[in-house]
């Protein structure tokens, strides 16, 4: 498959050839579906919820057993409180994957009616710095990590502080499910999440995992954190988003990672940035490298990104 991808990049003059490539990648993803449903991450043999969400998004419009049993799998392992665990067999504690599942199920048009509990779980979950005691601590005693604890989002797991990626995913999920219920609360939390993202942007633009500054020094942004935050901050006129896009545009020029380039493609597409074509070329080039193709998350994200560029839907789209 790698050789085929490689040939397509260099033999076709026009980049609008993706259909064959996407089908190849989708077939590869289907073939790696687990018997019980879903997909494993990395070297694993048990289904990972996050990886399964990406796999499902990649096959969302395909008639496929793998797609159908992935949906069944996700619905079966939902926790009683409406949240989702991190992987098949995990403890019944919810985590950030709750947001990614909501995004995936909606995108795949899955029959899912029990969403109110999931929304409630997300609304009840917040970064630990949102508690008055920790706000006080971060404002007075612990100033090494500089951020405004009044502006909190969502943690990876309950009981810890807010981080960029889970905050952005949850904002996207809540935005997409906004008409369902508790609209006022959802809007307030999304607004607070936006403030948190703006507060923690890196000075040069973009986002690291959490704060932009630690011990007075600016941290280096990451492509995936930046792209995912930009998907949540979909307002093209937001100055922090503009700065983030500017950073992303420059950094994805030399990037060779399928995973990061796929996220960058989705974000640049949403922000209608001129660097999109170059990013897609880099993504195709990276897909031809052997090392990246082994990773099911990266493969799925590549399909999602290419499909989105083709106009076949962006699962992370908000405000539509």
């Amino acid at each position: 498959m790698c050789m085929r991808v490689f040939r397509q990049i260099f033999c076709l003059k026009n980049l609008i050839f993706f259909m064959g490539l996407v089908e190849d990648l989708q077939a590869e993803i289907e073939a790696r579906s687990l018997t019980k449903g879903g997909w494993a991450s990395g070297n694993g043999s048990r289904a990972s919820v996050e990886t399964t969400c990406y796999g499902l998004m990649a096959l969302h419009d395909r008639r496929s057993d793998a797609r159908d049993i992935a949906i069944d799998f996700l619905l079966q392992i939902q926790n009683r409180d409406g949240s989702w665990p991190a992987f098949d067999g995990d403890d019944a504690e919810g985590c950030w994957t709750t947001a990614t599942v909501l995004i995936a199920l909606r995108f795949a048009n899955a029959q899912f009616t029990d969403f109110e509990k999931s929304i409630s779980w997300l609304l009840a979950n917040k970064g630990r710095e949102g508690h008055w005691f920790w706000k006080w601590k971060f404002k007075t005693v612990d100033r090494a990590v500089q951020f405004n604890p009044d502006k909190s989002g969502w943690p990876w797991f309950p009981g810890t502080v807010s981080w960029i990626i889970p905050t952005a995913f949850t904002m996207i999920a809540l935005s997409q499910w906004l008409p369902c219920c508790r609209a006022g609360e959802i809007r307030n939390r999304i607004e607070l999440g936006m403030e948190m993202l703006r507060d923690r942007a890196c000075p040069q633009g973009g986002w690291n995992a959490g704060n932009g500054i630690v011990f007075g020094a600016a941290l280096k942004p990451h492509i995936d954190s930046t792209a995912i935050a930009l998907l949540a901050l979909s307002d093209n006129a937001d100055p922090i988003a503009i700065q983030g896009v500017k950073w992303l545009r420059l950094d994805c020029i030399d990037c060779s990672s399928v995973y990061s380039l796929s996220w960058a493609t989705l974000a640049l597409l949403m922000h209608r940035d001129g660097a999109l074509n170059r990013c897609v070329v880099n993504l195709l080039r990276a897909l031809s490298a052997n090392s990246s193709v082994s990773n099911i998350e990266a493969l799925s994200l590549a399909v999602i990104a290419i499909n989105a560029v083709q106009g076949n839907g962006n699962p992370f789209q908000v405000g539509v």
């Binding site: 048990r46 630990r128 797991f157 810890t160 060779s256």
Partner: protein
Amino acid sequence: MNRRDWLITSAAVTGSAVTVRFRHRKYSRDLRPKQSRVAILHADQYSDRLDELVYEGLRLFNLDVRGKSVLLKPNIVEYIPGKPVNTDAQLIGAAAEAFLRLDAASVVVAEGPGHHRDTDLLVHETGLNDQLRQRKITFVDLNRDDLIKTQLQANYSGLGELWLPRSVLDSDFIVSMPKVKTHHWAGVTLSLKNMFGIVPGSRYGWPKNILHWAGIHESILDICATVRPHFVIADGIVGMEGDGPLNGTAKELHTILLSDDPVAADSILARFLGSEPSTVMHIQEAGRFIGNHEGVVL
């Protein structure tokens, strides 16, 4: 009670609480060897010459790794050009080669970066990918491995159990390969702290924030009591001092430290960085059950 009295009383109460907390035995087994051994190798720079240097250094220990699966756990945090925050790729490659020459059945390099979700990118940017490809060594992303729920063999953090990667638990011989650095919260980040990287991001997030809330020193002790590194190869050729793990300035130590005891290794390395090991809580406490503070220098 005035403000001064209140502060003194608070300090006394806190001090007593900490003392009481550590007086009780919190570990289930004593892992200390009868004697610990250390070798301090001199190296001016990262080069191909490390292959022979590390191999000869390992031979001093007469390690029995024949037929065993060896897992090298370097410290790969973030790629920041010009800042020596990661274990150098050349040294990792040299260590892998040396264990294969000592007839290990297999050698893998495994890491679960704390902040960075794109492990492929990090491995590429740090130059590790080139080393691995050149030497045909497999890399395992510990953030995305199969996980096994594991009872912790000490109870400093109160976590009780952690989901840990199968690749680590199934390995016969684990080598912690830290970058020698100071650390803002932990004091130093050496072979014991390096084991934070085995805790999987897919289960605990990026970063593994639960460990910070449970206490960094306490979590280090619980993890190392459960998965004690069998050996240490520390990258002190160029270390880092300052507000680690990410911010700081290069400190040329021209040293690779090898040891069969992570506590002995960290005690010596802490001194290299200007810290007394007794002032670093996890090193001090680890001397009670994980290893010895002193070792014979080979």
